[in-house]
């Protein structure tokens, strides 16, 4: 039976958008923690730490996000974990975000003038305090524009969770498209929702970049 496009379909899109936002936030928070770790490893003194971080980044930047989600989705049961779709999608996106944010923040850390950490060292600050109080705050500010830009990529990336069965905005649109047989409307609406989320962030990222370029 072909359903009409009614308010319940519209509500399903809204619910999908909420799931998309929540999944993006989870991935961004998880990816933020993972990203700082990767960035610190990537800039560590020990060659093996830099090696591990570089391999991690290369893997996640050199393979499709869809494959990464499949690997987590089919891999978790192999390691004895019952698959919860939130865990699978959240973990897959978190790992991906860790690699991208790690690479962005590595650039930030390396563009903080060397004298800063040398001075902190000379003042007798420990590694933790040097990073936490001196280098990272400056590095994060330097990489604010690409970080916001990555957020757009991440929100768009959450759409792939639909392929492993996570019901978010894209999956809602797929379901509605097949029950109402109005693909233009369903996907058009979903696209518009993504646009509403991403466009302000894209603009903000571009504005931050311009402001930073003007100052330096």
């Amino acid at each position: 039976m072909i359903r009409d496009f009614t308010s319940s379909e519209f509500l399903a899109i809204v619910a999908g958008m909420q799931a998309t936002i929540l999944l993006s936030l989870i991935a961004f928070l998880g990816g933020g923690l993972g990203g700082v770790t990767i960035a610190l490893l990537r800039t560590a003194e020990f060659p093996w730490a830099r090696r591990i971080a570089a391999t991690f980044i290369d893997f996640f930047q050199g393979t499709p996000l869809l494959m990464q989600l499949f690997l987590v989705y089919y891999g978790l049961p192999v390691f004895g974990y019952h698959v919860n779709i939130w865990v699978a999608a959240g973990l897959g996106l978190t790992l991906n975000a860790s690699a991208f944010l790690g690479e962005i923040w590595r650039g930030g850390i390396q563009s903080v003038p060397r004298g800063q950490s040398e001075a902190a060292k000379a003042l007798g600050l420990s590694y933790g305090s040097r990073m936490r109080d001196v280098v990272l705050p400056q590095a994060l500010r330097l990489s604010l524009a690409p970080t916001v830009g990555f957020l757009v990529q991440l929100i768009k990336g959450t759409s792939l969770a639909a392929v492993i069965g996570f019901v978010e905005l894209s999956r809602s649109a797929q379901i509605i498209s097949s029950t109402t047989y109005k693909p233009l409307l369903a996907y058009g609406l979903a696209g518009a929702c993504y646009f509403v989320l991403c466009f302000p962030l894209s603009r903000a990222s571009a504005a931050l970049e311009r402001r930073f370029a003007a100052r330096s």
């Binding site: 494959m67 192999v78 390691f79 649109a173 993504y194």
Partner: protein
């Protein structure tokens, strides 16, 4: 961990997997070529004196950049038939990838063209170079040199994005892996192999493009 890995069940399928790689690469190459054409037209439209063209081009670029590729593919593949244009999965995937690439290519090409200072044209003329040599040495080579790195990373991004074409069952590596999965029931192994194949393709391409960059575009900039 009680799971025992078994990659041997995939051995009979190595030819299908290689075919998948080939399909992914050709899908991406075609899309990059079309995408560059679309990008060039978009750039011309963005700079045209007609407001209408500028608005259309800007809306196109912003729409593509701020919506997920999955939604773009689904919109084109399932939506176009209701407008009277029905496409097979493969052409639909190439169309979606080309449109996606075009929106990003416009920006890349802009970087290359704007990077050439006006004084260089004049200097070339003053040195007595023929118009053809000016085009070759002063416009094309530096422009290519400055867009080459961005272009090759765009190729890799598009290659990775092409895996999403499997969601409209267009034949490429991910779709092939999915088909193998439904016959051997070894999802984890199948997708490990497919992932590694993508990684190998991406690594080989980026290594090759770095060599080309060094060999072909290595004369001093200033």
């Amino acid at each position: 961990m009680t799971y025992s890995f078994d990659f041997s069940v995939l051995l009979p399928y190595w030819e299908a997997l290689l075919d998948g790689c080939w399909l992914s690469l050709s899908m991406t190459t075609l899309s990059v070529i079309f995408g560059l054409g679309i990008g060039l037209m978009t750039l011309l439209a963005l700079r045209s004196p007609f407001r209408f063209l500028r608005v259309v081009a800007t809306s196109y670029v912003e729409t593509i950049r701020n919506t997920p590729f999955l939604v773009q593919v689904l919109f084109l593949y399932f939506g176009l038939p209701s407008l009277g244009v029905a496409l097979m999965p493969w052409p639909a995937a190439v169309l979606a990838l080309s449109l996606n690439c075009g929106a990003f290519a416009a920006e890349i090409i802009r970087g290359g063209v704007d990077g050439i200072p006006k004084g260089q044209f004049e200097a070339g003329k003053a040195l007595g170079l023929s118009p053809l040599d000016v085009l070759r040495f002063i416009v094309l080579k530096p422009a290519l040199r400055s867009i080459f790195p961005a272009l090759s990373s765009q190729f890799i991004l598009l290659l990775l994005a092409s895996s999403i074409a499997s969601s409209i069952s267009a034949e490429e590596l991910t779709a092939v892996a999915g088909e193998i999965d439904t016959t051997v029931f070894r999802s984890f192994e199948v997708y490990i192999v497919a992932t590694l194949l993508y990684l190998i393709m991406a690594t080989m391409f980026s290594t090759a493009s770095k060599i080309i960059e060094r060999r072909a575009f290595s004369y001093p900039v200033k």
